[in-house]
Every structure is written in C-alpha cells, then in structure tokens.
C-alpha cells in the first residue's frame, strides 16, 4: 500500500530536528519506522511532514553515566541486545528486546521509538517502568527530565509534546540483579498478549529488592509495587512466590481481543508473574 504524500526531512542534529518540528503544522517523528511506516501505508495517519531521526548520530549508543546507563533514544534494539553495558547493568532490557518481533524489526526499530510509540502491548515501556528509568525530553526551550511513572500517560500517549523529542533514557544500574521477561504470545513475532518484567536482587537465600511490571494489562505499563513489597524477604521458591504474586492483576484493566478476554489476561498475568520472578531468581 502506498502512504499519502508527505514532506520528508532527515536532519543531522537534535536542534535541527526540533526546529523542523516547531515549524511544521502536522509532523510525525520517524524513529526506526517499525510502527509508523505500517500506519502510514494503511493510511491510518497522513502527516504532512516526516522528520526522520535516523541520521542524528548523537542520539545513538549506550554509555555509563554514574549510577545509570545513558541510552540514546535512537539506539536500535539489536544494539541494546548486543551491548555489554546493557547486559551487565540492565539485562532485563536486553532480554525483553530479544523477544521483539523479528530480526529485521530489531535492527530497524529503536529503543526510544518504541518508548514514545507507547503501544500498551510493547515490551520496552514495561522494562523502562520496571527499572525506574528517567526520560530526557528536549524542546526548543531546553531539556526536561520526566520519571517513568509520569512518562506513559495513556494508549500511545507520552509526556513528549508535539514539538519535543525524547533524546535519552537514563536507566539506573541494576548490576548483579537477576532478571527475566516472561512474554506470552501465540506466534513468535506477535505483540505481547501479556508479558511480565521481573528483576530481583537476591541477598543470601531471600529476595532483597524486587521490580515487577506488566505489559498489556492496561493502557500503560503497570508497575506492581504491592507485589514487589510482598516479595521482599521471601525465599524465591515456587509456593512462596506464587502466594506473593497472587493478586498482581487486581485493579488492572487489560483489553479483550482475538487473543483473549480481560479475565484470561488477568489469570495469565498472575501465572506469568510467578514464572518471571522464579526465572529472574534463577538467573
């Protein structure tokens, strides 16, 4: 299918991109295009201007920045998966990124693109919420920082304004934590029906700290703080974990679609959370 006509810009700096966005009436940012291009081709959106961030070198790559990793918004999923810093300090993100779609999508699609797209069935937002990431948002009036719990506002809606750009994501280091992303799909390249991100710090025989977040259990990622609290201090064994996570889906508002209704998703979330926590503890 053929998209409607649009003007295409591929700036090489963030400032230039911001200028283009502020000048355009109806612009869309292309950050890999793995969601936007299909939307354009189906003519579900017909923006007048496309600003492609693919040539902005400063938006790519992962570096250490004190007790956090500074991830450029245009870092492709495949780079995240392969990056030794991510593997060491934020393994959850790499594990979840490995489950995204197929190799082509993982090479084209970007971390920041997936976050700003904010698909409730997307995997990256959940990992960012689980690990308490911070989001650097640049605008013509400067840069601001937004916390994970404030970043995802609704379905496909984030704190990034129409003339702003997500430039960097700061992921607090979770060095030495065990993590697991338990994704439930019917076919491999599907969006998550439900998925659970879990990261644990084990001290001795018990869980010292826990991060748990759910994918596709509402319009935005759901951080399961009550479950996190209940996990602290218990031994990571099947019965105890299952008991601690039993009401993880309480109060969630998952969708109903061809893959399952809301009740089934709540049931799945409970089963998968138990599995995710046990797998995180094991590795």
């Amino acid at each position: 299918m053929i998209p409607a006509k649009f003007d295409y810009h591929a700036p090489s700096t963030v400032d230039e991109a911001l200028r283009l966005l502020s000048e355009a009436e109806d612009a869309k940012v292309l950050a890999g295009g793995q969601s936007l291009i299909p939307v354009l081709r189906l003519r579900l959106a017909a923006p007048e201007v496309i600003v492609d961030l693919g040539r902005i070198e400063e938006l790519r790559g992962v570096r250490e920045d004190g007790d956090a990793l500074a991830v450029g918004a245009m870092t492709p999923h495949a780079d995240m998966i392969a990056d030794p810093l991510v593997r060491e300090h934020a393994a959850l993100v790499a594990e979840a990124a490995e489950t995204i779609a197929d190799p082509q999508v993982r090479h084209r699609g970007t971390f920041g693109g997936a976050l700003v797209h904010a698909d409730p069935a997307g995997d990256m937002p959940t990992t960012a919420v689980a690990l308490g990431a911070e989001f650097l948002i640049a605008g013509t009036r400067g840069t601001r920082t937004v916390a994970a719990e404030d970043f995802f506002e609704d379905l496909f809606t984030t704190a990034v304004g129409e003339d702003e750009l997500l430039t960097q994501v700061r992921i607090p280091k979770h060095t030495g934590w065990g993590s697991h992303y338990e994704k439930f799909v019917r076919v491999a390249q599907q969006w998550s029906i439900v998925a659970v991100a879990a990261a644990l710090r084990i001290d001795g025989d018990s869980i010292a700290e826990a991060r748990v977040a759910l994918t596709n259990m509402g319009s935005t990622p759901v951080r399961a703080t009550a479950v996190e609290q209940r996990l602290i201090g218990i031994a990571p064994v099947a019965d105890a974990v299952r008991e601690a996570v039993v009401d993880v889906a309480e109060g969630t508002h998952p969708p109903s679609d061809l893959n399952g209704d809301a009740d089934y998703r709540r049931h799945l979330a409970t089963v998968l959370t138990g599995r995710a926590v046990l797998a995180a503890a094991a590795g």
Binding site: A4, V187, Q189, Y264, V271, L272
Partner: protein, 799 residues
C-alpha cells in the same frame, strides 16, 4: 536427506535441488508485479467498507479531476459489458446463484466488494484518487451466522428467495454401495455406541506469499493478460465467456507465481476489471493488491459446520456414518465454491470400511467474502471429522486410538477396495505406514510418559494425536467430473519438442506456482529419453507456449500432467526409432532403446537420440514419407484418482495453567507411491503439515457483527513462521499407485489434510483427564483455558 550433485544413474528418485529455486527465492524473476510495459497505467480499487448495502450514489467527479487520473470506472459504467463472474460447478440442477458483477452496480454483499476503479499514471496517484470517490451506502441488515442464514429469516439476495444455494445428498443405500445409515444408527442406539458431535471448520484465508497481481496489454491483435494465477488456461476460457471476447483474441500468461494454495484458482473481479479498464483506455494497465486487500477479498477457505453421527458396535466396529454439513458460500459463488464441500463427500469414510454412509450438504449464502478452494478443498474437513470421531470412539470403547483404527481400516490384502462412497481405492498399506510411524514416534514410551504425567497431576499434560488419512489426488477423471456436474474435464496435456541441438523442451499444461514442476518434469523426461537433466527445459504458464492445459490444483499435476509428459516422451521415442533404424540400416523391430541410445540388438551398432533429433531436423535423409519432426504430444485423462495415505502422530504438551499448546514431536509416514524427487516431497509435507497445524492452532478469519473482517492484517490473522512450527520427522512407505504407469500418487495437499486432526486429537487427548472431549479450532491458549475452566466447573479434574 543428503543432496546428491553427482550424476545419478536414474533421475527419478533422486533428491535434486530444484532448478527454479534460485530465481524464486531471490525474487529476481518474472512476478507479475515486476512487469513494466511502455505507457502502462495503474489501477486502484474503491471497495465497500460495509458488508451489505444499497449503493445510493457514486460520485467520481473529484477523483476524475485528480492529478494523473485517466478514468474512473463504476459498476453502472460497465454493467452491460462486465458479465457475471463464473461458477463452473453447479452442484445441483436447481442451484441458486446471484449475478456476480466484477464491480458492484447497485448493491454490495460483503465488505471489500469493488464499487469503483481508478485508472491513473502511477499507483500512488491511483491510490490517492481512490480516496476521493464518494460512495453513499444505504446499509441493510447482514446475514453472518450460518444456521440463521439457512433459516432464511433475512435474505442475502432477496431475488433468490432463499439463502440456500443448493443441497447435495449422497446415500449409500440409494447408491447401492452400502446399507441404510438410519438402520445402523438405530442399532447403535439399541445397544451399540452412538457418537454425535458437531465440529466447526473455521474460516481460513489462503494467505499466499505473493499478493495477486494482474497486467493487461490491450494493444496488438491479441489482448495479453499476465496474472498471478494457478489457472491460465481456465482463466482464458472463462474471461472469453464472461467478457464476450473471442478466446482466440486472448492470451493469458501466468509467469512465476508465488504460491496459491487454491487461492489463485479463481477468475477474479480484479482480473475482469483490469481487462475492462485496459480495453477502455487502450493502454496497458496493472493492478496489484495490497496485503490488506488480499486478506479481505481473495477468496477464503473452509467455513463449514459438520453435524456428525457415528454408529458402532460395542467392540468399536463402525457400522455407519451420517454427515450433515452447512457450508458457507459467502456472498457469491466463485469458480468452484459450491463444489468444495462435495469433494469432501467422498472422503468422510476415509480408510475405513464401514457399510453405511449418508452425506447431505447445504450450501448457504452469507455476507462474508466468498469461499472457494483452499489446500485440500473438502478433504481436510472430511478427514478432520472422521479422525476426530475415531478418537472419540476409541475413548468410548476404552481402546487405543490406533487399535480402533486398525479394527476398521481396509487391510492391505483387501485392495482394490470399493468404498461406501463409491470410489475404488487401487492400493494402500495402512498397516505398514502405521507401524513405521509408531516406531519412529516412540509411541509406547510417550504413552508411558503420558500416564506418569497424569499420575502426578503435572500442570503440563502430554497428549498424543493420531491421524491415519487417505485422500483423493489427481483431479480428476473427466467422466467423474461430468457426473458431478463440473463444467470441464480433468485431463492434462504435454508436448515435447526435440531441438536440433539435442536439447529438449517439455511443454506442460499444468503450470506450477511453487510446486517444482520444472525440476520434476525434467527428471521424468530426462530418464525416459536418456538425456541429461540439464538438457531438459520445462515450459508452462502461457497459453501461447502451452496452448492446452487444465492447470494446477487438487494434487493433479504429477499424476496427470507428469504422466502426459511421460507419454509424450514415449511417442518421441517411437518416432525416433523409425529414424534411428533408417540411420542404422536396421529394422525398427531390431532396435532397443536404453539410456538415450538406440542399439541394434546383439551388436554395438547404435546412435544417440540427440543425433537422431539432428537427423530429423536437417531431414536430408529420412525414411520415405517420414514427417521431419520427432515432436510429440499427449493428453492424459486418468481412469481413476490416486489415493495417497499415511499416518501422522503428534505429541503435544498442553500447559494447563495458560492453555498453551506446544508441539513436542511430529512424525509423519506418508505413502505417496513412487517418488520422483524426495526433496520436493519432503518440502510439500513440511509446508502442508505447517499449514494444517496453522488451522489447528493459529489461523481464523474473524468478522465482527457488522460483517467487517477483524483479522484483516497479519497482526491478527496469525500465519505461523518457521519458529512457530516444530521440526518434523518425515518418512515414507512406498505402495505404488496402480492407476498410472509411474506409480505416483500426488503429495501437494497430504500434509494439510493429515495434520490438523493429529494436532487437535493430541490436545484433546492431553485434556481427557479433565473431562474435556473437544476444543474448537483454532485451539488458542484462551480457548483451551476456557474449555478447561468449564470442565473444572462441571466437576472434571485430573486423575
């Protein structure tokens, strides 16, 4: 399987890599959409967003003045010349069928129906302008549910007076091929076993890889159409009849075609519209559908409700089967829409020899996209039903599913066997295939593991699915098609041209769309003529090059078209023998032909067939009266179908906590008779089994209550990829078919027919301890979990 690159002693039976694969796999080939012609225009279709409505107005003014637009064509513009799309299979004398316009004129009957067509200089301009066509619809109530449709409370086509297109009945008592099924049912009720079930064959979408594409060049004496079709020959004839063009003025080319699965066995509205548009503007026109359009309007498959009654004795001997089908035609009848369920009528008895059978099918219109042939066409539905029922019977009797099948199947020494559905099975050995499959599978060990898992109440249960299928290949003996009211014959044509240089051209009327005819036909002819494989060129898919043919579907190509090529080769040899005898100064009767060489018996005097071909070419010294050509043609009309069979065994693990099914082991032992190329056979089985698994687990075309296709993209219509399909063990037994001289049977649909019931039987087997006796397809995790919840609520539970 090793790939042999050394020169084999015989081509037939050698696992040759396919000669067509490099161009097909890289895509650097003649796909229809790759075609560019000077001055070519592009089409975009305006399609109805609603399932049923009166068209109150079509305003094309804005579209017509849009940049690059040359024409906008509406239904009323072409109402007098577009004819009605053909249905070649009126299954009943009183079959009802509505007019089937390529462009809807005053009403639409399913979502996606074409209401206008934009012709523009570029595809982008055509697409842009198509959004400017303003159509007003007066929406009408939709008819979607099959049972409600059959009840005629709301009519899809009020002019027909009913939603029932046709009713078709077979009864073994009336056909004198068996007893009365009602008697068998009564006896079963009085002390035997009666199993009554209703199964749903969900609606499927063929989802071939290459979307349909058509190019029409109206310039020149003949109008030429390139189309991504399975049926260039049938298409040519049908277009000539539909659009009132002399057949001789139409040339149809199916260049390389990227899959079809029956989905390109059609005369499509898009082909007719492109033809009309090109003739109207007098320039070449191209239309290529988008994936969304393909999923929505390229014909769908299956969609039947099967009401089944199986009668048996207490010991598990089946005494009769009654089948009542409701089959969804969709909004119109396509080329063979109405015949698809009828093809299944001959297969419900499968490999079993029960004595009474009744089949009744009601073909019903709804406001869905129309259905038609899809890989297996009728046979997968029938096989699913009987193989599920055999498992239910085994459960009732308390016997192993393989045991209950063996009790009822035709023993190898009982062939030839005339079935209760009147077919004559020429050969088969179900015992051998089953024994081999059982061993490769490790059947007994897996049963043991299953018992252990049940014992310890494992949340992941193991199920073992069995499917012992047969099918009918080689569609079809023309006299049978005549008896079933099909409009054409089932023969196939081939010709062989012996070139002066010794190279050989084989022209086949059976045009491949991924099957590997070029390789297989080369192997057959290379062996017969004794020429190198590389020296054989197989030509097909162009009515100018291959003027006669019945095309490719129904696992017919090899058993009919391949045999035609073989027979043409034999005729070449007969002609060449006369010339060779003249060259060798011997009598033709004294010559023998082997490995490409004519030799005078008992001497070393001889000449190769290439030299004979050259002698026939220059014609300087031929026998008196010999026509200077070795070329020959043959038309094969089969006497009977061929009947591949096999045993598929599938071990599934069902996670009772999530409902997820994982296929752990899949073993199939198929008997497809003699094998021309084992690699092609394996490839067909891999793809076929994957497609059958897809029906069992993944795929379903879903409409909402307004008649909109919800599963309208590959995000929602889940075609499995390689990682979603298990590694499978494929093996064979070889019981040659007696219905053709190569002993081949056909393999194009076997995997799809066999695998769906194997998977579902496995899932149900895994869940038997919970009181589960059925899971509707596709067996999604959500459905399995829901079935388990319901079973738990009704007091079931693991042993």
């Amino acid at each position: 399987m090793t790939v042999t690159e050394e020169r084999p002693t015989t081509e037939v039976g050698t696992p040759r890599r396919r000669k067509e694969d490099q161009r097909l796999v890289t895509g650097r080939t003649r796909w229809t959409d790759n075609l560019q012609l000077p001055g070519m225009l592009h089409l975009a279709m305006v399609r109805s967003p609603v399932a049923r409505a009166k068209i109150t107005s079509v305003d094309v003014a804005e579209a017509r003045s849009a940049p690059g637009v040359l024409a906008v064509i509406t239904g009323s513009d072409v109402a007098d010349i577009q004819g009605s799309l053909p249905n070649a299979w009126p299954v009943a004398e009183d079959q009802k069928a509505p007019p089937h316009p390529a462009i809807a004129v005053d009403q639409v009957s399913f979502a996606g129906e074409i209401v206008a067509c934009v012709v523009a200089r570029s595809a982008a301009e055509a697409r842009d302008a198509s959004e400017l066509v303003d159509v007003e619809y007066d929406e009408l109530p939709v008819v979607l549910d099959l049972a409600q449709a059959a009840a005629d409370t709301e009519l899809v086509h009020p002019d027909l007076g009913t939603n029932v297109s046709a009713r078709w009945v077979f009864d073994s008592a009336e056909a004198c091929s068996g007893g009365n099924v009602e008697d068998a049912i009564q006896e079963a009720r009085d002390g035997g076993i009666l199993i009554e079930r209703t199964y749903r064959q969900q609606r499927l979408i063929p989802a071939f890889m290459e979307p349909r594409s058509v190019v029409v060049d109206p310039t020149g004496e003949q109008t030429t159409m390139w189309s991504a079709t399975q049926i260039p020959h049938i298409l040519r004839l049908m277009l000539a009849l539909t659009c009132d063009i002399p057949e001789s003025k139409l040339r149809v080319i199916a260049p390389d075609v990227g899959g079809g699965f029956g989905g390109k066995l059609q005369v499509t509205p898009e082909e007719v519209v492109t033809l009309l548009a090109a003739r109207q503007v007098g320039r070449p026109c191209k239309y290529t559908e988008s994936r969304s359009e393909s999923l929505m309007v390229a014909h769908h498959g299956r969609d039947q409700i099967q009401k089944l009654t199986l009668a048996a004795k207490q010991d598990g001997t089946v005494t009769g089967l009654k089948v009542e089908l409701l089959a969804d035609m969709g909004a119109y009848l396509g080329l063979v829409t109405s015949g698809v369920p009828i093809l299944g009528a001959f297969m419900f008895n499968a490999i079993y020899k029960f004595p009474a059978y009744h089949f009744a099918c009601t073909n019903v219109f709804t406001n869905h996209a129309w259905t038609d042939a899809y890989r297996g066409a009728g046979r997968p539905e029938a096989t699913y039903a009987i193989e599920r029922l055999m498992d239910e019977l085994a459960q009732e009797v308390g016997a192993d599913p393989l045991e209950i099948r063996e009790k009822n199947w035709i023993k190898h020494e009982e062939f030839p066997f005339t079935t209760v559905a009147t077919l004559e099975y020429d050969s088969g050995n179900y015992e051998a295939a089953t024994a081999k499959a059982r061993e490769l599978f490790g059947y007994d060990e897996l049963r043991k593991e299953q018992a252990e898992r049940r014992e310890r109440n494992d949340p992941v249960q193991l199920g073992i699915g069995v499917s012992t299928y047969t099918e009918m290949c080689g569609l079809a003996p023309s006299r049978v098609l005549g008896a079933l009211s099909y409009a054409a014959g089932g023969w196939e044509h081939a010709s062989i041209r012996m070139l002066a240089s010794g190279k050989v051209e084989v022209v086949t009327g059976s045009s491949a769309h991924g099957q590997g005819h070029e390789t297989a036909w080369s192997q057959i002819v290379a062996d017969r003529l004794g020429v190198p494989f590389e020296d054989v060129e197989v030509l097909h898919g162009d009515t100018l090059v291959a003027p006669k043919g019945m095309d490719t579907y129904g696992s017919r190509s090899l058993v009919i078209g391949g045999i035609a090529a073989l027979r043409a080769a034999d005729k070449v040899i007969e002609k060449a023998k006369v010339v060779a005898a003249h060259m060798l100064e011997a009598s033709p009767d004294d010559l023998e032909f082997s490995a490409g060489k004519f030799t005078v018996k008992g001497t070393d005097k001889g000449t190769g067939i290439g030299d004979v071909a050259f002698a026939a070419f220059h014609a300087h010294d031929l026998p008196d009266g010999f026509e200077p050509s070795l070329d020959a043609e043959a038309t094969m009309d089969p006497d009977n179908f061929s009947f591949p069979h096999g045993t598929h065994l599938c071990a599934v693990e069902v996670d009772t906590e999530t409902g997820r099914t994982t296929i752990r082991k899949y073993v199939c032992v198929d008997d497809v008779g003699k094998v021309i190329n084992p690699l092609i056979v394996e490839g067909q089985l891999h793809g076929g089994v994957a497609q059958g698994i897809a029906q069992a687990l993944f795929e379903e075309a879903v409409y909402d209550e307004s008649g909109t296709l919800v599963s309208g993209s590959l995000t929602d219509y889940l075609v499995p990829s390689a990682v979603d399909v298990p590694s499978m063990v494929t093996d064979r037994t070889e019981t040659p078919s007696l219905t053709n001289e190569l002993g081949v049977k056909g393999v194009g649909e076997a995997g799809t027919i066999a695998s769906t019931p194997a998977v579902v039987n496995g899932i149900v087997d895994a869940l038997r301890p919970y009181g589960v006796s059925d899971v509707p397809m596709p067996c999604t995790p959500h459905r399995v979990w829901t079935v388990l919840q319901a079973a738990g609520a009704s007091g079931g539970g693991a042993a």
